[in-house]
Amino acid sequence: MREITHAFKIDRDKCRGKLACMGRCPTQALRVKDGKAEVISELCIDCGNCLKACPSGAISATTHSLKAVWKNKYKVAVPSPVLFSQFPDGISSAQIIEGLKSIGFDAVYILSVENALVNKAIREFVAQWKGPFPLIPPYCPVIVRLIQVAYPGMIGQLLPIEVQRELAGREAKRKYAKMLGISTDEVAAIHVTPCQAKSISIVEPAEGAKSYLDGGIGISDVYNAILTYAQSSKESESKIPEKDIFFSAEMFQGVLRGQRRNLHGFHYIPLTGLRNVIHVFDDVEKGKMRLVDFLECYACWGGCTNGNLTVDNFYVARSKLHRLVTELPEKSPVIEAEVEKRYSSQDFFLKAPLKPRSIKGDMGNLKERIKRIKEAEAILTTLPGLNCGLCGAPSCKALANDIASGEAKKTDCIFFSKDRLDRLRSIYLTNKK
């Protein structure tokens, strides 16, 4: 099986085996063997809970080198709308854009039109959709991966409409290639992202196709450079009206209010925070929420403005977004004309259908698989049921399953092996004499 690229990596030297990550992983993708955390790649959904939980600083976000990207003839930044909510009052959006260019980008592509296009496509799609309900948009890469791994039966409920940043990447390449008379391959489109998951969705798209974007760079990676630039930049740049950059409030409606307005008249529920999402998905899976048309989910509580690569306080950032929205007209003839032009001629569907992720390789025929779960159930009845994690699995049930599938031994449980206890003592107490 091909190795899946993930957003996080564990530094084995720094890992002290504190088990915190294992308890916080929503898909039970972590095991702590011999005092070192390991990830089961097929189960990881790139949510980042482990990174936040680790007390040893051993888990870090994978940074994908943009070196190759900088070699391109022409580099276009495609910033998430969240970027413009991150800077102190007095720094204008024009200064933020110029700040991006000061880092080395040749141009900055604003995805206002893509927001409007996707809104239109969603509205039309929802209106004609016959079920299964509710529809779930694929805009948060963690949510898509959660469904692929833990709720495969809901895969048909994922809205097949491409995300704004991808469409913007495609358009940016097309636009600048045409303008400069070069090939689209010579134009690199780089997303300035509020979270690691979006970066990884560019490297490893969930549908298995190739992203239109060439890479992602975190807001926190460019923040200081932009701030420094803006503080010493020309007064005139701070005076450029927001309207001349974004044209309409549609640029920010999505990160601020989701699809609530766009889907007026439909039964719409917004949902943020991975724990909340999992709670509701358990109901969706039983068919309990069939009367809901659209369930907009984000893994980060509060949505993308609270992504792990953002810098500013979530509440301050939101207040800034509210202000940007009030400063902008609701609709703009410029955006509407572009939508009119592009909507009929462009494709807005995902590049390939989303499929459940295959978790295990060959598991044998049904009889063998049943034999294995019966074995796991029998083992489970003999385990202490404390879910202490010292065996290295997140729960007794997980250990029982691991034993039945040959990936662990019963003697990994300290109740069955004094050797195991001694071994743990030597790992955890060596420096505490």
Partner: protein, 148 residues
């Protein structure tokens, strides 16, 4: 010659009527077993909807019931037997939107008359027998090859 399918796995759950606190636990457990078996995700989805609706029918209307969950080499069988009021007119109960649910149940988000129609829609075979005043027996079968 009749070929009987071989029973590979069986689990029986007790479901208590009018107990909304534990409602849904049986179907959650069934889902967990089926997921562990790496059965086709669409078959799991259908089995889960059938199990949940059948379980909720017991919770809403009956005093007590059992859910037997059987996997054979050909199918998933979900058999529910309850002690309760029974269904006087099964044909009517199978119609979408027909419901005898109380306001309380509707407030909880149930009783929209979709229970039995949903079970029928998601199963390959459905048999219902009911004895008014005594109880109801339901067998829903989802064939393992029905998505092949």
């Amino acid at each position: 010659m009749t070929v009987y399918s071989e029973e590979l796995f069986k689990r029986v759950f007790t479901v208590y009527g009018h107990n909304f606190d534990t409602a849904g636990e049986t179907s959650t457990e069934i889902k967990s077993i089926l997921k562990g078996l790496e059965i086709d995700s669409d078959i799991i989805r259908r089995a889960l909807v059938v199990a949940f609706e059948a379980e909720m029918n017991v919770v809403m209307y009956a005093n007590i019931g059992t859910v037997s969950f059987v996997i054979t080499d050909e199918a998933i069988d979900i058999e529910v037997a309850d002690e309760g009021p029974g269904i006087p007119d099964i044909e009517q109960a199978m119609q979408e939107g027909f419901s005898t649910a109380s306001d309380e149940m509707r407030e909880k988000g149930f009783g929209f008359g979709m229970g039995l129609p949903n079970i029928k829609k998601n199963s390959d075979v459905l048999k219902i027998e009911s004895d008014v005043g005594k109880g109801t027996k339901l067998l829903a079968r989802i064939r393992l090859d029905s998505n092949a």
